[in-house]
Amino acid sequence: MNQNTASKGKVKRFTKMFIYAHWIYAAAFFLLLLTGLPLFANSFHWVYAVFGGPDMTQIFHRIFAVIFVIPPIMLLLFDRKSLFHWLKEVLTWKPKDIKFFFMFPKEFLVGNPDMPKQGFYNPGEKLNSCMQIVSFFALVFSGLVLWFPEAFPVSVVQWSNLIHVVAFIMATTVVIGHIFLSAFHPNSKPSMEGITKGEISVDYAKHHHGEWYDELVEKGEVVEEDSKGA
């Protein structure tokens, strides 16, 4: 199933390495969030009990932090093609992307049949990726300072406290939206297959990533009839 050619009625979207990277990142993010939350809100004090006390929780936070930086390195070493494709796609913004955001609230709430044609990623996905990239670097660098505070001037440590919390809030906000749209929203839910099995139905590609679909048809990777038959 995960060969270069997709199954019938399906189209290849992500490589195995890209999928591993996504889920390692997701797991580390979730565990970092969990182990960090008690320092953000007292209602998460129960986390200390789960991880064996506040001191152990802080040690776990550092272990998860190391895992957190592995996915980008993994892609850089073993799947540069996917990494650069992703970066190029999510960093390319067009004026028409703004239109998407105006039409999105309706799509979000009840579905909007008039959504404009999208490329490999829609602007929402691009925004999610961009905000994750920014918050990733902010979290990693401020986190490093907070891990080794003696190595930095005290004002750098103080500002890192602020940066760490702002970046975590930013990242968590987009993650909530990301999880909802990929796991709970009826229109975009089928996209989940892309990041589990690596391929999505041709039909979904046609309806949600029209421009990408057209490219695939043009390249002959998808035969127009495919979608009708699926």
Partner: protein, 277 residues
Amino acid sequence: MTTYSKLVDVTVCTGCRACMVACKNWNDLPVETQAYSGGYQSHEKPTGKTWNVLQMKEHETANGGFEWLYRHSACYHCADAACEKVCPEGAITYGEFGSVDIDQEACVGCSYCVYNCPFDIVELADYVTEDGDVRQRAQKCTLCEDRLQEGLQPSCVDTCPLDAIVFGEREEMLKLAEERLEKAKQFFPNAQIYNPPGVGGTKMFYVLADKPSVYGLPENPEVPTSAVLWKDIAQPAGKALLGVTMMGVLTGYVTNKLFNKGEHHEEGGEVDESKHG
């Protein structure tokens, strides 16, 4: 409500270090050996194990003479304490006698207070918890609150043979400081009171013989701007944003359940057929 203060008139201090000994003794603090730094001063600065340190500065006077600048240094017990602001556990509170207290049982050793203290006073040090475990917990001068509760004076105050350190109601201490300042000015023209407003004033405050910077003290210590942005803006706004986002996706979930069926069929029929049988 009556508030209290500790006044330290460094202009009459002779550097005997009895306050250091009394503090170590009363608070049962461990020995802390540091490398010899080449001077008379015992420790570089107050730490989690040594809550007050007598600073000894060799100072050249305006007319080329030499003098010692002695200074009892310990927690300043800020009225607007940065450590209290940044503590995520509510482990740092204001005591009834003007002290800033750390509850080591509530402390989790995150060290936010350590790096936000404008005076570099708080430090983590070994603490034996109620369960008998040794943990790294924030520690510093308590203003001997345990003694104050019993009607005693802080041990450094009690011990000081020259009344360079005095403790009492804040109003009285402020008045006394003015009197002490008048006397000090006869010998030290630059003498001044150090009760920095950037941290709301301090419950341990000085009569200094010279400018604060001469003693290595910050001229205008403040609660760090980053700490104000962090705790007064980022944290409450972040909680609100995360709450609103959760509400948003819950709303989206419900509205899609209720109203999205028809359009979804049109859009991608068999994509998730199981839902729409």
